[in-house]
Symmetry: C2
Subunit: 291 residues, 2 copies
Amino acid sequence: MKVHIDCFPCFLKQSIIALRLGTQDESVQERILKSILSEINIVDTSKPPAYATTFIHRKIRHLLGKDPFKNIKSEYNQIALKLYPELKNMIEESPDPLWTASRLAIAGNVIDFGIFTPHQNSGAGVTSVDIEGTIEKAIYNPLAVDDYILFRDDVAISDEILYLTDNAGEIVFDRLLIETLISLGKKVKAAVKGSPVINDSTMEDARESGLTEVCEVIDNSSDIVGTILEWTSPEFQEAFKNAQLVISKGQGNFETLIETGKKIFFLFQSKCDVVSKELGLSTGSMLLKKS
Amino acid sequence: MKVHIDCFPCFLKQSIIALRLGTQDESVQERILKSILSEINIVDTSKPPAYATTFIHRKIRHLLGKDPFKNIKSEYNQIALKLYPELKNMIEESPDPLWTASRLAIAGNVIDFGIFTPHQNSGAGVTSVDIEGTIEKAIYNPLAVDDYILFRDDVAISDEILYLTDNAGEIVFDRLLIETLISLGKKVKAAVKGSPVINDSTMEDARESGLTEVCEVIDNSSDIVGTILEWTSPEFQEAFKNAQLVISKGQGNFETLIETGKKIFFLFQSKCDVVSKELGLSTGSMLLKKS
């Protein structure tokens, strides 16, 4: 998985979303966006797009002097927490709680406001996400890639599971799947980012979503989009190495971990044309895919 | 009308379309796209986007060593010429030929493969345009801005009309409107670009479409997107100054001529979010708008 030229306009679109969340000052938005052009110019196109996105968003935070996603992440956690009781009930009443919880975890991945095109008339510059519609779709429609049987069987024979979270808001859905795994007798360790990057979950989101009360949560000590192992802490690397099974959420983790050789189940929605094309799928496809 | 930050990703998308038409070599595509990043960095955002697009496409042609749109322009002229007899008939049989011909001229503006996102699975990297569907839409649906009554009345009192063409393919639709104006006793002079830029019509397209056999065709001596008067030839400037009425096709001409103070009727589809937002319209709106 490498950077395609189609990623270049997308890098700018993502940057614009971040800039509009970070400042109302159009001259600042323009100045920072122009400096992102130089950043794209030196992108290593042999690496997954997540590398480039990491550098771009680091620069945006540096030039804005703040994390532009801070408020909206908290807002999305609150929205998802309101859904929690209903979703918990849906899982507990279903004939196969693991199946339902994994589908919901994929639905949760759609709550990603760092990638999609902003609405033209939205003040925040962020796409409204139809959460309830997405949940219905994830439950009632077939997945584009569905390795659930393998997932169920591998979960059955694994005692220790490492769970890589992706975005804020989504982390409430992750909590539901993790609670389901724990109810099946599994020991789960969840990982979040070490510091803010786009709308990815950090320890603050783990606390806000209640995840820290459910299982051990570690941070990977990095501000990387996805998981670039050599840039994570020794503690995280150790947890990754020792896990019998890894559950990985989101496209960024898929891009950066697909070639590690580890037994990983990737739960995500393919959100960009480039990744979807490489997978032979249409953009927006939902996947539960074994590495 | 000035450049917004939303134009930046769009500049890159347009460049990618041009590059894919110009070469199959992905390393060349990437190298040229990276040099376009520097070009965008020095864009004068106080000017209409057409200025930036002019410089970008000049650079692309220079670095490719050719006009990437040459073949596809000719292809679109041929497609439109096949429709000519049917459209001619439609105009001649209609109760108000000027109305029908002006609507068709607007429909013709949709044939623009320099702006829209390429289809994912299209080898050429170019959006397929539903020409017949567009024609039906232009005839049967109301326009977002419809100054036809003013247009008809101004045409009635004007003897000499300057007609600014836009794209190849579309120029066949322009020929139909120009023939209608001539049948009403008007003297029409048509203008094309002096040399290739995106898919804009040049003298070659005027010949290929049969327009040179219908009226006098002049070129504006420039390779500019839209019409930036100070960069056109004295001959073109004279024709512009002397025309009692100007008919202007396409968004580029609209962006660059809307503030000239001349009596102009703009016939076009608003193809981008930025221009559409400034006009208070949704993207894809069709207009017959008096200056």
